[in-house]
């Protein structure tokens, strides 16, 4: 017996790749021993030579699906093959759904309960598949074999660690059905996906021939919690009962779903946009542009922008009636604003094209940027409060006097940069929509946002009549300036809070410390104002700020991260076992960012105070597992509980096995637990 097990442990290492082919094929068991009456995963690992590819289940317009013929001993059965998320390859306009790199097809091998432990089980398979380059195709055949040993029933199989990676490459079941409509030769598929989920390069791979035209361009839009794919319908699309397929939402990340006939809103009706327009027409882009300009205009009254702008405007009035100078300054300010908006938009588009899941105000996700903004806003606030004078903003001083246009340009750039924290909450969705437009159109919308932001000042500069209507400069201006420091300090307060949320209380203290140092430095500057080298005292403050930036933690310490809705801990098998052994009731749930049902339950049920109260009163421990990236341990846990995907809600009463709760939760389901 011991000898047999030893042999069993060794054989998988000798799984033979078929020689001489363009795609090396090998058979790999997930465990050397398969317990009688249980299943182990089996992988068919395929490794194409460079330049060669194999095909997905639906090969696309050309190519072929692999077929497998098993040669199995009595008592052994295998399931259907599962395919990892494919890639697209277009050769001369013909779409191929392929794998250009090493990949593994997975299946489950089941040993019947009556197979005696220790029985040697020789497995064989003949795989017929097509290997192609972009020039030629070769049908290949691989004969692969391996031995496993039947284990004693109930013994958990040893898992090969490579299977975690194989499993992670598999598409995840979306868990809800999509809808589709076919009209005028076009197919539109609506896929429920949380609006909060960022997707990169989305593409819908149809599983069956004939539903969609593989080679046609797919246009993808978001409308709230729905992602809409529109493309040319395939030859069999009319009268289809279902369209099954795989939606990719990022590199190697795919969701399996089935769509059924139903209403799908016309593509290109993002949140907040006006409907009834023909998709993608120039009219739509003009409308979006107008929206962006309006949004930018609104930004002027935001607490972080208004003080800068109003003072700048007043300084313009104070500068007198120099017509040309005013116009130059207004144009320079506009250029500063628009360029910063374009730069932020351009970086954003670049990052998106590179596959990063970022949204507007992405730069605010970095605590270092928040720190810079905090110091900047604090500095501006102190300036407004009168602690010191700053040439560019205060106006009438050396720099502005020497080159008003240059000062105005930097004021504009500053206003646009400082404005971004305010854009996030109310412009985020609309700007997110801009991101999926063609580059030029998207950049036009960012520029429009900047133009809107610059518009009031631009008008003041260009229209003398408006300038004349500004109140006469006087002592009241200083008073207004002091008052305007209040919204600036409020903005600083908000930024400090964000810093604390992002990087923990230490980082917040660090940021506030740096702000204090800056304030002291600026105070000193103010005292020395007018003397030569008045700015010298600022050097140590800047050095301190720089040091703070280097040491500010980039992530919140564990436990201080954005919490799952219920105050809970991250799931692990060990933690679950530990809590259960303590005799505590445990509520365990699994979620994923792309899972709409999960999000609905979390918002509508898990976040309710009744639930939290009920759990606290009964000392229910909460564990949450995030399967967004297909964590293998969670995948195994789900499989052990008969699920292929999320959501999964479980309740462990003390000393009892798990009770699986419904996928659509109600408050009563949770408050009623254990009573």
């Amino acid at each position: 017996m011991a000898l047999l097990v030893l042999i069993g442990l060794q054989t998988p290492l000798r799984a033979q790749p078929a020689p001489g082919s363009n795609v090396a094929v090998s058979l790999l068991p997930g465990a050397s021993e398969a317990p009688a009456g249980a299943s182990i995963p089996v992988a068919i690992v395929m490794k194409p030579k460079p330049g060669w590819h194999g095909y997905w289940k639906n090969p696309g317009d050309a190519g072929a699906e692999a077929t497998i013929a098993w040669d199995l001993p009595k008592g052994v059965t295998v399931g259907a093959l599962r395919y990892p998320v494919p890639e697209r390859l277009i050769v001369a306009g013909i779409m191929n759904y392929v794998y250009e790199h090493e990949h593994a097809l997975l299946t489950e091998l089941t040993v019947a309960a009556d197979v005696a432990p220790g029985t040697r089980l020789p497995l064989g398979a003949k795989l017929d598949f097509l290997a192609c380059t972009d020039k030629i195709c070769v049908p290949e055949s691989a004969q692969v074999s391996m031995d496993i040993v039947a284990g004693a029933a109930g013994r958990p199989p040893v898992k090969d660690p490579r299977f975690d990676a194989f499993e992670a490459a598999m598409p995840k079941p979306l868990g809800v059905d999509g809808r589709f409509v076919v009209e005028n030769g076009r197919a539109r598929i609506g896929i429920p996906l949380p609006a909060t989920l960022a997707v990169a390069d989305p593409y819908f791979f149809p599983l069956d021939y004939g539903s969609l035209d593989h080679s046609a361009v797919q246009t993808v839009s978001r409308a709230g919690d729905l992602l809409i794919v529109e493309t040319k319908a395939g030859p069999n699309a009319a009268g289809l009962a279902t369209i099954a397929g795989l939606l990719t939402i990022g590199k190697g990340q795919g969701l399996l779903l089935t769509a059924r006939p139903g209403m799908v809103p016309a593509a290109g009706e993002p949140i907040g946009a006006t409907g009834g327009q023909k998709a993608g027409g120039p009219g739509v882009i003009v409308a979006a542009l107008a929206g962006a300009i309006l949004g930018g205009l609104l930004l002027n009254i935001m607490p972080c922008v208004f003080p800068i702008l109003s003072l700048k405007a007043l300084s313009l009035a104070k500068a007198g009636a120099d017509e040309g100078g005013a116009r130059r300054e207004a144009l320079a300010y506009t250029a500063g604003v628009v360029l910063v908006c374009l730069a932020l938009g351009g970086i954003l588009l670049g990052l998106r094209a590179g596959g990063a899941a970022v949204g507007w105000a992405f730069q605010l996700q970095d605590p270092r940027v928040i720190l810079v903004l905090l110091l900047l806003v604090t500095g501006i606030g102190l300036n407004l409060a009168g602690l010191f004078e700053l040439p560019a903003i205060g106006g009438g001083s050396r720099l502005a006097g020497r080159s008003g246009a240059q000062g105005a340009f930097w004021t504009g750039a500053l206003a646009a940069f400082v404005a971004t924290p305010c854009t996030g909450p109310f412009m985020g969705a609309a700007l997110g929509a801009a991101l999926v437009l063609p580059t030029a159109a998207a950049l036009a919308i960012f520029a429009g946002l900047g133009l809107g932001l610059a518009l009031p000042f631009l008008l003041l500069g260009l229209v003398p009549a408006l300038r004349r209507r500004l109140p006469k400069p006087g002592a009241w201006m200083n008073r207004l300036r002091r008052i305007l420091s209040i919204p600036m300090f409020l903005t600083a307060l908000g930024l400090a809070w964000i810093l604390g949320r992002q990087a923990g209380v230490d980082a917040m203290a660090l940021g506030l410390g740096a702000a204090l140092l800056l304030a002291l430095g600026l105070w000193w500057v103010g005292v020395r104002q007018g003397r030569p080298r008045a700015w010298l005292p600022l050097a140590p403050a800047l050095a301190a700020a720089l040091a703070a930036m280097l040491i500010v933690p980039l992530e919140a310490p564990a436990g201080a991260k954005a919490q799952p809705v219920l105050q809970g801990e991250m799931f692990s098998d060990e933690k679950l076992a530990a809590l259960r052994s303590q005799g505590r009731p445990v509520f365990l749930y699994f979620t994923a960012d792309w899972c709409i049902t999960c999000k609905v339950n979390e918002k509508g049920v898990l976040a309710r105070s009744e639930v939290a109260k009920s759990f606290t009163s009964r000392n229910v421990a909460v564990l949450a597992g995030d399967w967004t990236r297909g964590d293998a341990a969670i995948g195994r846990f789900l499989a052990e509980h008969g699920r292929s995907g999320v959501p999964l809600y479980l309740y462990y009463a003390p000393g009892q096995e798990a009770k699986i709760l419904p996928q659509i939760l109600t408050v009563g389901d949770l408050t009623g637990l254990g009573t």
């Binding site: 192609c132 035209d213 069999n236």
Partner: protein, 202 residues
């Protein structure tokens, strides 16, 4: 507003010539191509006759499956017996695998004892793209009224294995039989299978 497809993919797709697959029941697109002897052959000279189009690439394993087994020749012979016009078309671009000149095409037809009415050379891919031909073989049947009545694979066993031929449904023969009997074509589309057409510039 339309959320266009992410830029990279759009650029990738943008530089290709569009393949247009005409829907079943529509007028079959016309074309004029040189045959293996250099003579120009136009689709419209076969008005009033049933026409079969076969996209061909002699080097493709799937084409070999049907020629080396004699299945394609048998299908051609059966069609020709009923007065059907059979046009084999090679849309392989110059320099691409499977591209042939007139002499090579004649040698292929003679060597395989193939029986097309004509073997047409479409090195520019004009006819291929007009029909949305994506694989070799890719089969089309045009009825006497010039309407497209079948587009797809030669049969329903999408493999390169000759042993699969006897058990397969030959969609082209079935369509021709139904046309002859005055019935509607029951399977009007199927998945075309094989190697991709090696268009020029690909």
């Amino acid at each position: 507003m339309k959320h266009l497809f992410p830029i990279a993919a759009a650029l990738l797709l943008g530089c290709q010539t569009a393949l247009a697959a005409p829907p079943i029941g529509s007028q079959a697109p016309g074309f004029s191509l040189p045959d293996a002897n250099g003579k120009t052959v136009s689709l419209d000279q076969f008005k009033g006759k049933v026409v079969v189009l076969e996209w061909n690439n002699p080097g493709c394993p799937y084409v070999k499956k049907h020629y080396e087994s004699g299945n394609m020749q048998k299908t051609q012979a059966a069609a020709r017996r009923d007065g059907v016009v059979w046009l084999s078309i090679n849309s392989g671009g110059a320099g691409q695998q499977g591209h042939m000149n007139g002499a090579q095409a004649k040698a292929f037809v003679a060597g395989q004892k193939a029986q097309p009415s004509a073997y047409l050379l479409d090195a520019q891919g004009v006819a291929g793209k007009r029909y949305g031909a994506v694989t070799t073989p890719h089969m089309y049947v045009i009825d006497k009224a010039g309407k497209l009545v079948y587009a797809g694979g030669i049969d329903d066993k999408a493999t390169a294995n000759k042993a699969d031929i006897p058990g397969a449904r030959n969609h082209v023969l079935a369509a021709l039989g139904e046309l002859k009997a005055g019935k509607a074509v029951s399977v009007a589309t199927s998945r075309p299978y094989g190697c991709s057409v090696k268009y020029a510039g690909g």
